[in-house]
């Protein structure tokens, strides 16, 4: 399944890009003659029949080569690795922070769901999840960078992670931005998962045996609640990655998002294909890992699988 989905993505991407545009026009300037335009197309190899281009592209992929950028001739694979220096820490830190926000907030909102502040907590998380991530970014820049000068308004050290302090400082505001939105989203899931557990028979049964609320929750609730949460977390991690890609533009961070957007603008097929294939593989892989992890934790899922019933992993 995983490979099939990937192969499908590769093919669709390849065809769509070529239908939508001609990379030569991103390179020429006003004044170029037909002969020059044709020569540039030959140089890029886009004048060949599309099936021929596709075959050589597949050949490349099989040898784990993502090709060279049409516009700047940098190796796309190397470039993706370089950009991950920004995007990966940004995604992971944002995800971590969003979990740190979401778990207590969601749990508290569920636990105190009958009180006014419990309702207020869930209302705030509703609101947080509804705001576009770039808008949060713009507001935070207005206040914390332009206003209070606490953080830079954007950019990333040219020395990358040579000075980890400076790199982390540059990422602070983007991380907070993504975590506010992603954390609010996640808090709602945590809240409903917790509510679900709190109403379960087994919890009452456990308390009836004399366990305290906390022990009962820890022994039975967490283990039961964490299984559906894993697939939510996997999806959330993918969403955080996409959020990172968007927020890179607001904060002028040279990550994968920037590579993708500039690639689209310059019709740089190899770069666009490279970034999107990488993201596709990442999302598919996360889903797969979540599946495996769930089965490790909950034996019932393994049984249901052997009984040939599909588990709805990405609910």
């Amino acid at each position: 399944m995983l490979l099939l989905a990937f192969a499908l993505a590769v093919t669709i991407l390849f065809v769509v890009l070529r239908v939508l545009g001609n990379p030569v026009f991103a390179l020429i300037s006003v004044g170029a003659t037909d002969a020059e335009i044709a020569a540039a197309a030959t140089r890029l190899g886009v004048d060949r029949p599309i099936w021929e281009q596709f075959l050589s592209y597949l050949g490349q992929l099989l040898s784990f080569d993502l090709g060279q950028s049409f516009t700047n001739h940098l190796d796309v694979g190397d470039e993706i690795v370089r950009r991950l220096n920004v995007t990966l820490p940004l995604t992971l830190l944002s995800f971590l922070l969003s979990v740190l926000i979401a778990v207590p907030v969601g749990f508290f909102a569920a636990w105190k769901s009958r009180t006014w502040y419990g309702t207020a907590f869930s209302a705030v998380s509703q609101l947080g999840g509804a705001i576009p991530v770039f808008w949060v970014g713009i507001l935070l820049v207005a206040v914390l960078s332009l206003g209070w000068r606490m953080f830079p308004a954007g950019g990333f050290p040219r020395t990358d992670w040579e000075d980890p302090g400076a790199a982390l400082y540059a990422l602070t505001l983007p991380v907070i931005t993504i975590a506010i939105v992603a954390g609010s989203d996640l808090a709602r899931y945590v809240r409903s998962a917790t509510l679900d557990i709190l109403g379960q028979q087994y919890l009452r049964a456990a308390r009836a045996t004399g366990q305290s609320f906390a022990t009962a929750l820890w022994r039975h609730g967490v283990r039961n609640g964490v299984v559906p949460l894993i697939s939510i977390l996997a999806i959330q991690l993918s969403t955080t990655f996409v959020g990172a890609v968007i927020i890179e533009r607001v904060f002028a961070l040279p990550g994968l998002g920037d590579m993708l957007l500039v690639g689209i603008k310059e019709q740089d097929f190899p770069s666009v294909q490279g970034v999107l294939l990488f993201s596709t593989a990442l999302v598919l892989l996360l889903g797969f890992l979540a599946d495996v992890l769930q089965r490790l934790i909950d034996p019932r899922l393994r049984d249901s699988l052997s009984g040939n019933r599909r588990v709805k992993a990405a609910a």
Binding site: V30, D34, G147, A252
Partner: protein
Amino acid sequence: MTSRRLTRLLTASAAASAGLLVLSGCAAGDTSTSGSGAPDPAAEIVIGSQNEPTNLDQIFGGSSGVTEVFTGNVYEGLFRITDDAEVEPLLATETEVSDDGLVYTFTLADAAFHSGDPLTADDVKYSLERFVGEDSIAARKRQLSVIDSVDVVDDNTVAVTLTQPSISFTYNLGYVWIVNDEAGELTTSADGTGPYALADYRKGDSITLEVNEDYWGDAPANGGVVYQYYADPTALNNALLTGAVDLVTSQSNPDSLTEFEAAGFQIIEGTSTTKELLAFNDRIEPFSNVNVRKAVYSAIDREKLLDAIWDGRGELIGSMVPPSEPWYLDLADNNPYDPELSAQLLADAGYADGFAFTIDTPDSGVHSTVAEFLKSELAKVGITVDINIITDDEWYQKVYNDKNFEATLQGHVNDRDINFYGNPDFYWGYDNADVQTWLAASEAASSVEEQTELIAQANQQISDDAASIWLYLNPQLRIAAEGVTGVPQNGLNSLFYVYDITKA
């Protein structure tokens, strides 16, 4: 979501954002500025720009961004074009021209590339041939196509033979980089003779230039330069406001100028060579009719447009030649704003009830705002405009390549763009035999006076014919922090020499 819930949500988010903005407003007063004092010769200048080069080579899709960074800074030509559009010798210390104007013999400066390789006649031969070669899609290739052959006389001397005299030859050479013939792939690396060497290239982020300690000329006034690129104009402005960059090469949004002025920044205004054009497809009806073109021209209040777009900065022009050029004519009133005249011209052309046409409008820059303005102006004389927004790539495909359009908006950036009117196959299809003859003859003229005379004639004619509508000339706006000096003012064709820039 019910509409009541939606309303509540929107009210809440509006209140939240208003609160945050008030907070930021309160705190915005304490702008810290760099202390003024003596310029620091070791200071690294950080330049913010939106014009990131697609790659580092001028002959392969080298956009104007590549000129901004490299020409004159990392690479040098045989000649230098000054900020006032004068030609000065650079790597060609001496020039001899044969009596028939066909053979140019250049004596080369005693310079060396950053790699240490000395500059020789072979490098010049290689560079010129590369520039006009088959693979080259350099923007100025055509102007250099008069080169017939390049011959190495000795290590220090090179002779260039032309197919016909070209009075702008040395000027055009000012844009051609002399590269090392052993440099290899120049799309990702560089080896020039300039005052700076390429230190670091981070695509999507920055280009760092370090001072070339062995430079053959005068040492730069600063300790190196970083070009920091921003895809988003707001991000660029924020970087300037927070001191992350020292200056921006071009400000495309005049709305923010008052904010910068109030915060103590310098606004540097020079003349540009970028003309905003409403170009017709002169091949097709009704634009094949000169009266229709003139009618459209006279229906547009360009002064109001310039005010709206550039807050009164910039200039009105009436033809393709900007005032910074020697053969400029003041033609701003040649096709005056006069709705009555416009209606009369339309009636004469047989379109008393007006007509409808589509403007293909690139989605970049100010074009879509300009298109809206034109639409409302032309509606007043009964002409209906449809606006069709397209991407820059679509523009090249549909308008430039296929010539499948009625009218389009475009900013033409270069100085001597008037030559496009001498080519009937150009996208706008203006075809006037006299203009073609004059422009061709102007290039082969034996003196600058003769050249000026011929171009002026062509200039007057295309304006009389309203070949296109020259809406206005963009201002060249740069913004620099306090204490920054030596910023080039005009920046002809994106030239941007950084060696005189200092900061305290």
